[in-house]
């Protein structure tokens, strides 16, 4: 168990340079991991259990973690991270790409809200877990970085630093830097959305709420996850709605967007719209 977990943790630590291949995972940049996370925490594994889901169709493994520090978002002191797969009795489910956690070990976890239930999911599967260890000589807490993230290492530590690990403190600061930098929607970004609701703002005027319908990775530093909230105001002009989109909420971080679209008059919820950011 220990070897396997150790090695799988290494798998977590190892990432790859971009390549154009048949895949299961998108190799996410650190910025993308941060943006796609509703919550980022340093947490210690305190328990793990595998069980069948309610419908007895799938085995899931729930890892319970004690939160030591919150780097983004707001989470309780104890959280659960759910991943598909695990073993119950003589039946097991294997899901390649899942993270394996070492008992009692600490991780920095990049979390996203669950599709259902209360347990978090890891952003990017195993990519969303960075193991923290204590250096035997200096007793300093350090974070293991993926192999290909030497640019990340340089950003955190300065160019030329050879370590494949960085001090936890530096890691935290770097996360904070990315969070503080906010999100900037690039010109020309195409966002497919579906309008989910409207609120009246007076005669012939509506506030419009929409959600994105696919994961958008416009560049190496940005991700707009599916379900991201996009808001705007619609004005009735003649026989159509003129909608001016002005705000995007990516996992709790607001960003400005400037886009407009026209829709025929009538009820807006349920309509699919493609936004082109100016």
């Amino acid at each position: 168990m220990k070897i396997e977990a150790w090695i799988l943790t290494l798998w977590i630590a190892i990432a790859v340079t971009p390549s154009i291949r048949a895949t299961t995972l998108i190799s996410m940049s650190f910025s993308q991991l941060t943006q796609a996370s509703s919550d980022i925490v340093r947490a210690q594994v305190v328990g793990q259990t595998s069980r069948w889901n309610q419908d007895h169709t799938q085995i899931v493994t729930v890892t319970t973690c004690e939160v030591k520090q919150t780097l983004k978002g707001h989470v309780p002191s104890s959280i659960e991270v759910e991943q598909p797969g695990g073993r119950v009795g003589n039946v097991g489910m294997l899901v390649p790409g899942s993270a394996s956690f070492l008992p009692e070990s600490e991780y920095v976890l990049f979390l996203e809200p669950p599709a259902e239930g209360s347990a978090f999911r890891l952003v990017g599967m195993a990519q969303g877990a960075y193991r923290v260890y204590q250096d035997a000589l200096t007793h300093e807490a350090r974070v293991i970085l993926p192999l290909n993230q030497w640019r990340l290492r340089n950003a955190m530590m300065g160019a030329g630093n050879p370590a494949g690990t960085v001090p936890l403190l530096g890691f935290h600061k770097y996360v904070a830097t990315i969070v503080d930098a906010g999100i900037h929607i690039p010109h020309g970004l195409v966002l497919p959305v579906v309008i989910v609701s409207t609120e009246s703002r007076g005669t012939g005027r509506l506030h419009v709420n929409a959600r994105t319908t696919s994961d958008i990775f416009p560049n190496a530093n940005l991700v707009i996850p599916v379900g991201t909230i996009v808001e705007g105001d619609a004005d009735r002009v003649g026989g159509q709605w003129e909608i001016h989109w002005d705000e995007v909420n990516v996992r709790g971080v607001y960003a400005e967007i400037s886009a407009s679209s026209q829709e025929p008059a009538g009820s807006l919820p349920g309509r699919s719209v493609v936004l082109n950011a100016r």
Binding site: L8, L25, M28, Q58, M93, L94, L122, D135, I144, T165
Partner: protein
């Protein structure tokens, strides 16, 4: 061998001694890095199908609005079925030295009702889901059933894994795959046609990768293999045909008696010590001495022993430090600067001067 700083408590070695080399006559060297699923580290069992006659069905909920058969045209169910079927064919016809895998036979079946996926019901479903984590293009959930003895049966209502159909299956091994469901992320965009725009993944390529999992293969560290796990965001990936690494993986799981695949039983083995003590998690890399290309690699066990599975041939073996202080469990990039070569399709061969970074994820047991 290395220049510049030395940050490791123990330096890399080049193990060139005859005791650590397999000196055989075969000249052909392939990069072999496929991984088989492993139930646990202390009990190495292949996880494969008891019967290689495998049926699959497309979830009737298809098509999906994010899969396209032409620019702006949502793919019809037949388009999707055709792409997935072609992906199955790639594995069914996997060959090594002109010999085909033994008996892998995939058959599409139809279903009238929507099927839950993934579900451990002995029905192999290919479908779309919106429940995958951000950054996931597709996912395969492989359900296996295990027993202390072989053969054993499953599928009956009272068995460890009841099948929805009630059909009883016999597993000739101690572990058998009983169900495998493939889910494409409905939040990603897919294409079934050539020259799709950036941002759309080639559905057949992704299906080919996922079917590799379905038959029992895990991810490979070889960048040009279908079973390589990661993709890129800026370009659609198209790799519909198997690499040698993939084909050998399939043949190891489902060997053709005439394939000569038993040559894979060859291995380089030895023990790594530092100051007389066993060195755990040392990264061992086998290199083709002629080209300098990486053939395969592994990590040493807690006892310091290692096993590099290779074809018969002559190799150089590098032992590289995994961590700067023997406890942290991390490679240093600096450790790789000289040896990060030959792993990807674009990296340079391992001849001096070496300057490419590795993107290899390794063979880890």
């Amino acid at each position: 061998m290395r220049s510049g700083r030395t940050t490791s408590a123990f330096p890399p070695w080049v193990l060139g001694g005859a005791s650590l080399l397999v000196l055989c006559s075969a000249a052909v060297l392939w990069a072999v890095s496929f991984q088989m699923f492993q139930v646990d580290s202390s009990n190495v069992e292949k996880v494969l199908w008891g019967s290689p006659n495998i049926t699959w069905t497309l979830n009737p909920e298809l098509p999906n609005d994010n899969a396209f058969s032409a620019q702006g045209t949502v793919a019809a169910r037949d388009d999707l079925a055709s792409a997935v079927s072609a992906a199955f064919d790639a594995w069914q016809s996997a060959t090594y030295k002109n010999l085909q895998v033994d008996g892998l036979l995939f058959t599409e079946t139809s279903s009238d009702s929507q099927l839950a996926a993934p579900a451990a019901d002995c029905t192999n479903v290919v479908g779309f889901t919106g429940a995958l984590a951000t950054g996931t293009i597709a996912q395969t959930v492989v359900t296996y059933v295990a027993s202390d003895s072989a053969p054993f049966q499953y599928g009956a209502a009272a068995s460890a894994l009841p099948c929805a159909s009630g059909v009883v299956h016999t597993c000739p091994y101690r572990v058998c795959i009983a169900d495998a469901d493939i889910e494409f992320n409905s939040a990603a965009q897919f294409a079934t046609y050539a020259d799709a725009p950036m941002g759309q993944y080639d559905l057949q390529s992704i299906a080919t990768h996922e079917i590799g999992h379905l038959i029992g293969l895990d991810h490979s560290g070889i960048a040009h293999s279908v079973m390589y796990p990661y993709g890129d965001l800026t370009e659609a990936g198209v790799q519909r045909t198997l690499s040698v690494d993939d084909e050998i993986g399939a043949l190891v799981l489902y060997p053709n008696a005439a394939s000569g695949i038993t040559a894979l039983a060859s291995e380089i083995t030895g023990t790594v010590t530092v100051g007389g003590s066993a060195a755990f998690a040392v990264h061992l890399v086998a290199l083709d001495p002629a080209s300098g290309n990486v053939v395969t690699d592994t990590l040493s066990e807690p006892s310091g022993t290692y096993h590099l599975r290779v074809f018969e041939g002559t190799y150089n073996v590098l032992a590289l430090p995994l961590a700067p202080d023997l406890n942290s469990g991390a490679y240093t990039i600096d450790n790789f600067n000289l040896f990060a070569c030959g792993y990807s399709t674009s990296s340079s061969a391992c001849v001096l001067p070496l300057n490419a970074f590795t993107n290899y994820t390794g063979q880890f047991y």
